[in-house]
Symmetry: C2
Amino acid sequence: MKNNPREKYDLLTGRLEEISRLGGVMSTLHWDQEVMMPPGAAAARANQMAAMAGVLHEKSTDPALGDLLNAVGLADEMQFNPYEWRNIHEGRRDYDLATRVPKSLVQEMAELGSRGHFIWAEARKSNRFEDFAPVMARFVELKTEWARAVYPDLAPYDANIDLFERGVTMAELSPLFENLKAELIPLVQAIRAKEPPHTGCLQGHFPVAKQEALGRRISQDMGFSFDMGRMDISVHPFCGGSHPTDVRITTRYRTDNFIESLYAVIHETGHGLYEQGRMPEGRDLPVSETLSMGIHESQSLFWERMIAQGRAFLSHYLPLFTETFPGNFAGVNADRLYAAVNACQPGLIRVEADEVHYPLHVILRYEIERGLFDGSIAVGDLPAVWNEKMRDYLGLVPPTDTLGVLQDVHWSGGSFGYFPSYTLGALYACQFYRALAMARPKLEHEIERGEFTGAREWLGENIHRRGRLLSAADLTRQVTGEPLNPAHFIAYLKEKYGRIYHLKH
Amino acid sequence: MKNNPREKYDLLTGRLEEISRLGGVMSTLHWDQEVMMPPGAAAARANQMAAMAGVLHEKSTDPALGDLLNAVGLADEMQFNPYEWRNIHEGRRDYDLATRVPKSLVQEMAELGSRGHFIWAEARKSNRFEDFAPVMARFVELKTEWARAVYPDLAPYDANIDLFERGVTMAELSPLFENLKAELIPLVQAIRAKEPPHTGCLQGHFPVAKQEALGRRISQDMGFSFDMGRMDISVHPFCGGSHPTDVRITTRYRTDNFIESLYAVIHETGHGLYEQGRMPEGRDLPVSETLSMGIHESQSLFWERMIAQGRAFLSHYLPLFTETFPGNFAGVNADRLYAAVNACQPGLIRVEADEVHYPLHVILRYEIERGLFDGSIAVGDLPAVWNEKMRDYLGLVPPTDTLGVLQDVHWSGGSFGYFPSYTLGALYACQFYRALAMARPKLEHEIERGEFTGAREWLGENIHRRGRLLSAADLTRQVTGEPLNPAHFIAYLKEKYGRIYHLKH
């Protein structure tokens, strides 16, 4: 076979499409497991997923795929357009990630991952961090080894971050997080000194069927297509599915609180709109995929916080809330609802945190992970370090490790470097919203009338349909005219909560 | 590697388990497609399933698998126990079926299968058999070619039957079906001459939620485990799922008829109990799998017809029916309900036929398929042949081909030899029930009290847990003491309908 780059490219994309489709199958199995699978099937499903993981590994590390990547990689730059080069480079990256890790390391990480999850769950139940500590220590070693194998030029923790947030390093994150900390700690202290808003209208009894209809209605208003998606129930809300035409969001219901479930629907709808909005061509190719964890999170937080926690949105939906739960909203006006929805207070648990406190939870974890990888923090000291940082940043000390260092699932599977994406997402969301508001001066009026098409189309054009054609950094510059700038997020929080809590400027 | 049969066997079963687990994944995709998938995902799902089919084909035809089968096949008979030999022989059969067909033929069958389905659906809609005829003619050619490739020693139609009903041939079926025809045609004529029973109690308005609760309750009473299964809605009821611990039945609901949906639940529960009841060991190996289409159908019909259409069952559930649908059953006693549920009448459509008429629909199709393969019937004559047989066997002539020769999906995908399994299933079910009734003289009393454990356990011990250790013929002899004997089925129908319709003996 002669080295015709075009033919090789077609063979390459055929293989990449196959891997993507098999990945879609795996996603369907994940969704089914969380949403539909009968409990007795757990062991059989684990075997099925292991068989699929084996197939995906074979396909992703096939030397013939490597040969094709080598061949097209040698082509003249003009031989492929940027769309095609993106597929080639992303294919290369995935291939390197899959093939550079020694098999023994892959196996030990997988084995420790499933054992570690079990040990963590038990340790959390019995409040015994010391039982989980050896798993944690070994994972730091393994992930350091992994980093040296896949990205020998990066510091090990930077390599771990890169997996979720391409190109982001400690050199960027550390000053950014210092800046946030310096601004947010005084802000949360000022908020705590004030009287909290009344939240009585959000308490009561909310039948599940009514909550479900409300969530479905608002998701649809936002533009989620139920022709290319579903909404179901799971223990933890998530956005899954196998393809832009098959996007599956979930929520959970409590009958004493409808806001939690509704905002989970809105959050997951934000993720879902990103998936459904991907570019129409190459949907089984890397170029069309969503860009990074942080950009994905920016889409969910854009809708959840920037839009749905805003006064305009709440003013539009107050009549629907009143109609749905007539007992609760008599005499409540939009300002009062807005204050109630945005009431904030410090808490021990990251996933329950509001937008002001959330970054402090993330920064604490980032500093701990960085310290674990550079050796300045020992695993054995984690509970003490955790509790000290909680006191310094949030003014609270967890009474148990279950409510402290053992609360997150991430470390039990060796996921390090993931947490920063949550806060990067919040920063992107705020900066994107600001750019949108400048591009559409009547944005707030549109939202007040329940018109979301303009916002959604702007996100589609500027972010969703661009796939991976640009890096997150370049995308941010193109869309907002400047690099990621935490000043916007800080100004947004100060302004918003300054008004809600009557803080002095 | 030296030829150690035990080691080779372990490698072989590892590969067979992998194939079985990937097959389970494929089943989950099928179920999801019919029950959960958003409509817009159809094209993406087709790509995903094609990718999975490709993987399954690679795994099933891997020469290394063939080498292992060759190696263990040479072992001394005493080297493996019958359970192990069954795995080896079933593995061999599947490997031969997968590898003996030339790739060009596989591709043309797959291509014609998807195109043919579309052409058939259009032809059925427009009542134009002539549009479908070329597909049908080509499929007979392809399936003849296929048969010569996989089973050169069998007549082509026998090879097609063998795929669904191992070891069954025209030499067995033709006299059996002649016998049935000779007995059933006069029986249906005698029934038609009589006044039909009153069925008014089965007509009315039946809310879906109540039907669903009723179906779930009865399925559970029968012993279906919802810990290892689910019940959902689909356009056509079926029993799917990926494993004995993950069995998923479906039904559909009409608000003007609850019997149809309920008996679909009972039928699919019968299939589901077979799957859930498989032997506890080797569940990802061929030895534990269900035996044949006919034996599978015997399990659904055992529960649907032999038990649930019986007087004892209806007598037990009449109070629950009355409680669920209070308007309908005032003044209805068990005899009247029994007569109503068993009312029978000739119809044009096979899937709507009752147990007396159903075999005649099957025999008609069997005779046509046999004639197509031996050249005695031309595809162009099918509508005429169909209508003539309908008149002779059922006394009805379809007004259109849509209600006649175009009604079934099977031929659109080239499935020939499948129809006999439906009637073999009915015969097995009747003969098994008779054996059970002899083993448990108080069976009817148990059913009358809603006690199904004895019947289910007997099926589990005699059929479900035996997997593929015996052939269907040997199983029948061991369980009932004689070969498959249509006399029992004929006697059962004559006795039952003789009483319901007051026929002279």
